[in-house]
Structure formats: structure tokens, C-alpha cells
């Protein structure tokens, strides 16, 4: 059974259609990335799945229940990290975790959560004295303390410095190895590439591409071959890089000529993503 099923989900705010009929499924134990620029409908989608917002149309199932009507029992199995890390500033990290642990019937031991999110040294520090990255990790800890099956992470590393992002990625990977299902939204390509088993790219409220990160980079694009000839840059895009490259080098050898600055490149997910989201907005 899939952890999440979304079919033809629709949601408008007044005249603005935020989500215009999207469908995807997330398998149990999978890390699924919802990727897209700001305003693509990621947060609206996730907040419908979390039970915060009613939908206008479509079918949504999260752990076998409709989030619009599910309560208590269902919430025991869900962990949520929202975009803003709202916490009680005057409590310590450990007290905050203990408070939230008490909301669940079978919480994970608080000390274990502290370790999992790497806050051992800051556990007895007041929340207001934590750095942005530490707060975000504590926020993740709050989502994990109920030992949920499914975890929603809405832009978990936005605003992080590169080191903090790597740390957060390690934590998310360790959750995956615990068998948790994770739905992650991000506008960072490399984040989706590193963490997600499968990705859906959202743009203006619709899914413009879906698949594994490798499939996505493979699907759109051609390989790019660039070199310089007489000081001019030549760019060849091709779906048959082996043949094109062979012809190119054979010819160059025959003419006893060097292909200056020769580069053969597969487009990164980033370029695919830019192409997809731009095409769509035109």
C-alpha cells in the first residue's frame, strides 16, 4: 500500500489556482521530493496532505486516511516540519522535546532524538540561544519525537549554510535508513538529487515532470558537446553522443587538428529543472 496517494488534487484561493490537478504516489519507505520554484504550489499541496487545508477537488489518501477528516490516531503516525520553526523560546531544547513527546502515546526516548538530530551539546540550552540551523534541527526532532511513520519536511534547509545543509542531509538519510517515509519539498535541485528516491517537479500548480532524478536528467535532454574552432565556441546538442563524438574526433584527427577546450557534458538536474519550469511559465 502506498503511504500517500494524490489524484487530480485541486485547490484555489479566490481566482488564483494554486494547485491545478496534480497526481502522484509515495511508496512506504521512500523519500519523495516535491520540487519547484516559490509559488509552484508545493506548500499548498503539503498542507493539504498534513490536514491543514481543505481541498477543492481530487482524492487524497495519507496512510490510508483522508487528512481532511482524520484526527488523533492518524496524527500519532505523522511528523511535520513547517517552513517556520515556531517554538517556545524560553524552554530548553530538551524541555521542548519532552513537552512534545508527551503528546504521543508511544514517543521515542528524548535522549535518542537529541542524538538523532545532533543536538547533544545544545540540549540544555534555551531555544532562543540556538542558531538558525540548530533550531531547524530541533524542529526536526519535534517532528520525530512521536516516532512517526511518515514525515513531512517543508523546505527543511532553506537559509542554511553549506555545512549545516550537509548535516541536515545526513540526518534525513538516517531517517530513511530507519524505514521512514519522507515527503520533502525544496527549491534546491541538489537537495532533491541527493536525498530523493523520486521527484515530482511542480510549476504553476501542475506536475511538469516526475521520476527518479536520473530519469529526469535523462528524459529531457541531450548531451552537450562544446569545443572551440578558430576561436569560436561550437555547441552541439545530441541524443547520440557516441556517434557525434566519434565523427568529430575522426575528422579532427584526419585534419591533424586539436579540438580545443573539448567538453562532453550531461545536463544537470538543475538545467533540466530550469528548462521545465521556464517552458511551463511561457
Amino acid at each position: 500500500m502506498s503511504a500517500i496517494v494524490v489524484r487530480d488534487l485541486r485547490k484555489s484561493y479566490g481566482a488564483l489556482e494554486a494547485v491545478g490537478g496534480i497526481s502522484f504516489e509515495v511508496e512506504r519507505g521512500e523519500v519523495f521530493g516535491l520540487l519547484g520554484p516559490n509559488g509552484a504550489g508545493k506548500t499548498t499541496t503539503v498542507e493539504i496532505l498534513e490536514g491543514y487545508r481543505p481541498r477543492d477537488g481530487g482524492v487524497v489518501e495519507v496512510l490510508g486516511a483522508d487528512p481532511a477528516t482524520a484526527e488523533g490516531e492518524w496524527r500519532e503516525q505523522i511528523g511535520v516540519v513547517l517552513q517556520s520553526s515556531a517554538m517556545y523560546e524560553t524552554l530548553t531544547a530538551r524541555e521542548m522535546l519532552r513537552l512534545f513527546a508527551g503528546y504521543y502515546r508511544k514517543p521515542r526516548p528524548v535522549d535518542e532524538v537529541v542524538k538523532l538530530v545532533g543536538l547533544e551539546e545544545k540540549a540544555d540550552e534555551r531555544v532562543r540561544r540556538l542558531s538558525g540551523g540548530q533550531r531547524r534541527r530541533l524542529d526536526l526532532g519535534l517532528a520525530l519525537v512521536g516516532d512517526p511513520e511518515l514525515i513531512f519536511l517543508d523546505e527543511p534547509t532553506t537559509g542554511f549554510d553549506p555545512r549545516a545543509r550537509r548535516r541536515a542531509w545526513d540526518t534525513i538519510r538516517s531517517l530513511r535508513s530507519l524505514g521512514k517515509t519522507i515527503l520533502l519539498t525544496t527549491h534546491y535541485l541538489d537537495e532533491a538529487e541527493h536525498l530523493a528516491d523520486r521527484v515530482a517537479v511542480l510549476s504553476h500548480g501542475v506536475v511538469v515532470a516526475a521520476g527518479t532524478p536520473a530519469e529526469l536528467t535523462g528524459s529531457v535532454a541531450a548531451t552537450e558537446i562544446t569545443y572551440r574552432e578558430n576561436g569560436r565556441e561550437v555547441v552541439l546538442e545530441t541524443d547520440e553522443p557516441t556517434r557525434v563524438l566519434h565523427e568529430l574526433t575522426t575528422k579532427a584527427l584526419a585534419e591533424d587538428r586539436e579540438l580545443e577546450g573539448l567538453v562532453v557534458r550531461r545536463p544537470s538536474l538543475e538545467e533540466v529543472y530550469l528548462t521545465l519550469t521556464e517552458e511551463h511559465s511561457e
Binding site: 498534513e50 490536514g51 491543514y52 484526527e71 488523533g72 490516531e73 496524527r75 500519532e76 505523522i78 511535520v80 513547517l82 517556520s84 515556531a86 517554538m87 517556545y88 524560553t90 524552554l91 524541555e95 513537552l99 512534545f100 508527551g102 503528546y103 504521543y104 502515546r105 519535534l142 512521536g146
Partner: protein, 249 residues
Amino acid sequence: MRLFRHELRGELLLYTRSRELAFFTFLLPIVFFVLLGSTYGDDTVDGVKGSHFLEAGMIGYGAISIAFAGLAIVLVIRRETGILKRLRATPLPAWAYVSALLSAFLIAFAVEVVAILVLGRVLFGIPFPDRIGSLTLALLLGAISFCGLGIGLTALIRSAEGASAVVNAIYLPAAFLAGAFFSPRHFPAVLRAIADVLPLTYFLRLIRNVMLHGEQIWTQGTNVAVIAAWGVLGVVIALRSFRWEPHEG
């Protein structure tokens, strides 16, 4: 019930950790009691000793400070910073959260009342009130009504920054006009007309009648009815427009 007890412990910890709450809503009535008591405590006010009059006034001021002002500010800040939204994602039911929050504030008010009574006895030699049952009921009625109004007020405040300003602009003049600090008897007619609709006016009359004139609560129909009506109004507004999520942008 387990969830209620757990959340109540959390709320009490949060209350004691908050310097703002501790000072502005909890300590300030005690400070005013000591200061004003030492200026006019020995005079006669409205036919009773000044310190006795002031003690009841400061209990009323404490009620509006803690149950109305403190609660409203805390709730707006929690809503606008997204804590309420965060809590909605947990299995903690709304009833357990709200009842634990109110209980924490009622407990804080109870401690405040005891502190004022003990201080009054020690500093100004005021005997403890003898209508304990009526006084307890009156205080409970007032505190719950002010909680209702405090929650209702949160519907009118849209930002965390505005919370203290709006709340202070309401409850400080209200406390003054209703006669928490001084007898309103010699106030200009306009001010007395305003005071005549304030719930605190009726709450102060009620507890002064009980504390200073030995009345029982069941002889105080009008006062009880006006206080309860205000409380119901607050709860109705709260039920109609309470929100868990911050205002966007």
C-alpha cells in the same frame, strides 16, 4: 486526562519562565498594592479603610492583568509565531490544550490572590476575608469571564507586535476607570458613564461587596449577570473567529 495534565505542567513551566508575564501581569498588581497602600492606606475611601479598598481593587486588577491581558498576549504571540499551527500537527486535542492553558492562568491568578491577601495582612494589617466561599466563586467567575474576553480579543489583533500595544491600551485605562486604583466616585460624569459598561467595574463591585461588606454572592445578581454576560460575549467571539494559523505576510 493524561494529555491535560501533561500540557498543564508544560504551561505552568512556560508561565514561570516568562519574564514579561511574571512582571507585567503578576508582579505589577503587587507593586501597585504596596506603593498606593503606603500613600492612602490609612485614609477612608468610600466608607472603608483605604488599604482594604485597595486590596480588593488590586485583586480585580490582577484578574484583568493575568486572565485577560496576559492570556490574550500569549495567545496572539503563539498564533502569529506559528506555535498554535505547529501544535495542530500533533495528537494533542484542542480541548486539552485550551483547558490546560486556561488552568495555568487561573492557577497563576489564585497564587496572585493569596500573595495579595498575605501581603495585605502583613503590611497593612488587613484581616483575611471571611466569606471565603462567595469570594472564591466571585473570583472564579471573574477570572473565567476575563479569560473568555481575552480569547475573544485575540480575534481583533493581527500581529504579534501589536499584541502588547492593543491589550495595554484596553486593560490599563479599564482598570483605572473601573476604580481598581482609586475610588471612581469623584471621576467626571463622562468617565463614570464609560466605567458603567466595563465588566471590571462590576467585578470590583462584586468582590468589594463580598470582601468589605460581608455580602454573599447570591445577593449580587446584577453584578454576577453583567460579568457573566461579558464572559459569554468573549467566548462567542472566540468560537466564531478563533484561528490557529498566523495571518500571512
